[in-house]
Symmetry: C2
Subunit: 251 residues, 2 copies
């Protein structure tokens, strides 16, 4: 017997008052979600919390203990509201101090005399962490245990994610098939439920669209790890939709 | 003595595998965040969970007990993956059944013979809930206790939010001031921290931008409920930035 395919899970903790106030529209959740799906890691939960120590510590502890990996975004700059590194150290129960490796990285971009006390905050790295390189603005993220601490600025976050992704364990990739359903959901819902009941290992979702066509631009998305099973379920859904479209066509 | 200004808080629970897989990019969090800020409700937390009963029930219970209001989005359509209404009923400890008021609403858009068993799923409303009207596609959301159950399709969610917002208690609006800071964060971080320490009731954030100007298009955002205090803190930050810009100008 073959070993069961490994499932690798993840969560995201978005840290930032600016997301909760609506001032900044988050772009990181969608990017990380798509990225992880592509490399075979299943995103299971996302939380957005404010720049408050207890909230960040609680979020890191809840999510890092429940999933294979936790990605945090935001709060690693030099200003007083950047408290993520210290909170992650506290959550993981390790000490934190200025890290000479991080100092060296910042010195590739600035003179030592410009490395003031606030900028040194960006070099505070929990003990035992590996740095995650930042090719854009030098100040690194880090990985401690199963927690990856990334920047909040999307361009920097994306570069960091690329750098750390190579070090992560990945599982079987989830494949997906999207099918157009030019019918109201209520017309195909019963047939779709019957198909879903036959394929426990394929997740089937129906996503309505209320654009110009008034809810008839829907998509049915099938997702699963077993390609043959996915193809079979997709064929069943295609046949269902074709049959229902034919039934509704004027004779 | 005047009574302390009331603080009204909220959380959002986004329900949907499609957000976690990255297939759909959420547009509701940012919209609701901005909306609530505008009407004087403070968004304190967001969670995104999959279409799994235990996850939804746990999310509703955790967030509805902690904040004044909880808004859920997604999972109220007619297909088998739409399980939000039943999960919310379970979380709130009430029964759920087809609601005649919801049936009447659907019948304004379709013949009774088209109201099949799956479409009737959209009329399942927890006992004691008030309906939230949906002018786009008729199937209503609902409000039970402090939980508002809204659609996932942005256009419908927005219309429902408009309809339910009038029934909500709101607190003192948080005002905000955004100031451009044409300097690297590390140059003004110490001065900004000193100002932040003087104004405990003003939250001050620094948001770097790494666009074409290499991290010098930053914004400093001050937020608070007391307008006079906010104006004073903003003046201090303006003076700080002006002084630092002058110091860096070639003499």
């Amino acid at each position: 017997m073959q070993p069961a395919p490994k499932t690798i899970t993840a969560a995201i903790l978005v840290i930032g008052d600016e997301i909760l106030s609506g001032r900044t529209k988050d772009q990181n959740i969608g990017f990380i979600a798509e990225y992880l799906t592509r490399i075979g890691i299943e995103l299971r939960e996302v939380r957005v919390v404010p720049d408050i120590e207890e909230e960040i510590v609680a979020g890191v502890q809840a999510l890092s203990t429940r999933y294979t990996y936790l990605f945090t975004t935001g709060g690693i700059g030099p200003t007083h509201d950047d408290i993520t590194a210290d909170c992650v150290a506290k959550a993981m129960g390790v000490s934190i101090d200025v890290d000479e490796r991080a100092v060296e990285l910042l010195l590739t971009r600035m003179k030592r005399s410009d490395l003031n006390e606030m900028r040194l905050r960006m070099c505070r790295i929990p003990k035992g962490a590996d740095l995650i390189l930042n090719p854009i603005s030098a100040a690194p993220g880090f990985k401690i245990g199963n927690v990856m601490v990334l920047a909040g600025v999307p361009r920097i976050m994306q570069a960091m994610l690329d750098n750390v992704a190579q070090t992560l364990e990945t599982g079987v990739k989830i494949q997906s098939v999207s099918l157009d359903a030019p019918l109201p959901e209520g017309v195909y819902a019963a047939g779709l439920m019957a198909i879903a009941a036959q394929y426990a290992d394929v997740s089937i979702g129906s996503y309505p669209s209320f654009g110009t066509a008034g809810g008839r631009n829907n998509q049915i998305v099938l997702r699963g790890k077993d390609e043959a099973l996915l193809a079979k379920a997709s064929d069943d859904v295609r046949a269902l939709i074709a049959q229902l479209v034919a039934e509704r066509a004027p004779s």
